[in-house]
């Protein structure tokens, strides 16, 4: 049962990936507070612009605003707003520390080390994150101007902190982001060419269509999909351990809020293309198949390898899709139903029939990020097959950035603004990043790191294994000398308060006693 949540109290970006709802453009900017009183006044004035999690229709633009606005704060920001010390003390350690001192846990070393990050992140002066998403760039700019004028009215209490590296190496006051466009239409692609952002978790009360549950929830003992507990993603609600997540006092400050990771992840597109081109020469399969074996999904349409594990199966799948689509377009309701059922399998799958990774390699990106009950190697070892995964799920938000200026190289500005939300930064994001992306003991793959986002350094043993069928006569394929394909260019940990908490913060009446 979906327990109703107070969606008007929850900020909209927690429950919705705006990109999926027809908002392909975004601007992220960061605030610095110079006076707590004026900063609180600014928040009060911004409050009516904040987008809540109220339910929108999935299709079409009717009933939706043209742009959205959301706000979140760093620990330093909450301090600068003058939150009482006792409330501040209740925040978890990793949030208080912020992202930079966690570099060793996150694999932010070498070119990803904080000293190389964009200037906006140097020092501890980022106090708040504001995001504006829009149906088109002009609506983003309109809303940005509205927020900017509120900043200008703040008597110097609030300023935009500049220093985002832009396309020509120039520094900008904001970070623009956009879906990648093909033939004038926004796509779910990122700059390496993968279809991204497919498998976001489904939790109790999230307000999303229950048809989206299969493959996105948790797997019960009976093998059925159920929504994850709300408390995995929103504070003040019971989590998968049947406990309330650790949260600051008073209760109203935390309830319906959550934590957010913001990371600017630069993509070395030239290195990626060179690496794949070079490796594809030795690989028994197409370039697309090789790309799929790194990520777990086919780059063109995101079909999972569990559904089509090689070129022949992919051609068959594409043909089947094509036939069903043609029939459905001709009004064949049966074909339309079959097409929908087939498309549901993009999300609704496990690795139960693929324990050896002969279809989707055990170390493929999507199999690391969302293990889909594959860590229960002995049947009924845990309370439910996905017990080890349910507490490590990430709500992913964000959009690609850059890439508009001709051929992409390693030096040109392009990548992903990665944002991920959850009730515990340490247990969810940091764990996945440290143990599953940059280490492989849980997958019995030794020290291997994720091929796409791992902190690899081009050594022989920086590798990804494409497992072969143990019953077949093919050898496994080793992707060696993996270079650093993704570099961190900045980021921090943020707290996204509820509307109630924002109002209390604006009024300066947060009282933990």
């Amino acid at each position: 049962m979906n327990r109703p949540l107070d969606l008007y109290d929850i900020q909209g970006n927690i429950c919705k990936g705006y990109g999926r709802f027809g908002f392909p453009k975004a601007r992220y900017f960061f605030l610095e507070f110079h006076d707590s009183g004026f900063a609180r006044e600014f928040i009060g004035k911004l409050l009516p612009l904040i987008t809540t999690a109220e339910t929108w229709p999935a299709e079409g633009l009717a009933g939706k605003p043209r742009s959205t606005t959301n706000i979140a704060f760093t620990y330093e920001g909450l301090k600068a707003l003058g939150l009482p010390q006792r409330s501040l003390d209740g925040f978890p350690q990793e949030f208080k520390m912020g992202m930079k001192p966690r570099a060793a846990i996150l694999g932010d070393d070498g070119p990803s080390a904080p000293e190389h990050w964009d200037p906006v992140w140097q020092g501890d002066r980022v106090h708040a994150w504001v995001s504006v998403n829009g149906q088109a760039k002009e609506f983003v700019e309109q809303r940005f101007s509205e927020v900017e004028s509120l900043i200008n009215q703040s008597h110097g209490g609030v300023s935009i902190r500049p220093g985002h590296r832009g396309p020509d190496g120039n520094l900008l006051a904001w970070q623009d982001a956009s879906a990648v466009y093909e033939n004038g239409k926004p796509t779910p692609k990122e700059h390496f060419g993968y279809t991204d952002g497919i498998g976001n978790p489904y939790f109790e009360g999230c307000g999303n269509n229950p048809q989206r549950l299969a493959g996105r929830g948790k797997l019960t003992k009976e093998g059925k999909w159920a929504p994850l507990a709300t408390g995995e993603f929103i504070l003040g609600h019971v989590d998968e351990a049947k406990e309330y997540p650790l949260a600051p006092e008073p209760h109203l400050l935390a309830r319906n809020g959550t934590y957010m990771v913001y990371r600017k992840l630069h993509e070395n597109v030239q290195s990626f293309n060179d690496y794949i081109d070079n490796l594809a020469r030795d690989f028994d399969g197409s370039r697309d198949m090789l790309m799929a074996k790194l990520s777990g999904r086919w780059p063109d349409n995101g079909a999972p390898l569990t559904l089509a594990a090689n070129d022949a199966e992919k051609a068959e799948l594409d043909a089947r899709m094509g036939q069903l689509k043609a029939k459905a377009d001709d009004g064949d309701a049966c074909a339309a139903g079959q097409l929908q059922a087939l498309q549901a399998r993009w999300i609704d799958f496990t690795y139960e029939q693929d324990k050896d990774g002969a279809r989707c390699p055990v170390g493929a990106h999507i199999r690391r990020a969302n293990t889909r009950a594959s860590l229960e190697t002995t049947k009924e070892a845990f309370n439910s097959p996905s017990a080890l995964d349910d507490r490590r799920r990430l709500l992913r938000r964000g959009l690609p950035y850059g890439g508009e200026h001709g051929a992409a190289t390693d030096e040109s500005e392009q990548g992903i603004i990665f944002m991920c939300l959850g009730a515990s930064l340490e247990r969810q994001f940091e764990f996945v990043q440290q143990q599953w992306m940059n280490y492989s003991n849980d997958f019995k793959l030794g020290n291997d790191r994720d091929a796409l986002i791992g902190a690899n350094n081009g050594q022989l043993t920086d590798k990804h294994i494409v497992q072969a069928d143990p019953q077949g006569d093919k050898a496994p394929f080793f992707c060696t000398h993996l270079p650093r394909l993704v570099e961190t260019r900045g980021g921090d940990y943020f707290f996204i308060p509820s509307i109630t908490a924002l109002d209390m913060m604006a009024q300066g009446i947060v009282d933990p006693t």
């Binding site: 030795d282 050594q459 022989l460 043993t461 590798k463 394929f477 080793f478 060696t480």
Partner: protein, 208 residues
Amino acid sequence: MSNRSGKAYALTTLCPIRNGHEGNMSFDKITRHRIQLLEEDSGSPFARIPNTYFARLFILNDVFFEQGNDVHHDHLKSKYLVFTSNFHGDLKPYLKGMWDNANDTVRSIWEHAVAFDKVRNSDDFIAYIRKCQLTTSLFFNGSTDDELRFQLKSLYIKQAFSEFVLAHQNKSTSELRTAFNEFMQQMQSDNLNDVSWIPGQTRLSHLY
């Protein structure tokens, strides 16, 4: 419960430390300080003791037990030097090897243990440790019961072979055969004393 598992032996000893002090440092603190100064990995004195798989030293203070609201606190009459070691073979030759190869370390770490001043030679040391020994079955899970140099050689070849595989992917059968023959010669698989990890080593520099 048994201290033996095949040819592996799990030694657990609790040696009481004398109550008392030297200057402002109590004997247990002096002992702890000396333990903390010991080198690690291949520089560790335990790496010099033949056939040591794994060894650990620590000081046991009071003992706490906590399970829900059930909390017990046992105050001990003295602090204990705890020495645990997993090794290949029998206890007596192992302890003789310890006395002979890490004598300075043994004398320094056990200096303030009760009655250790009576220990003059390896026979005394063996008798002393056996008095302090507990019967346990605390085995280090990352080891077989083979002779150490055999295990080190296995680890070496395993790591070298995985690098060989990575470096020779997609070679023709004849190239692969030639390269593999060279590799096997390079490995000197019958030579347990060389072309191997040294005791205490934890990683190999890359071959390729």
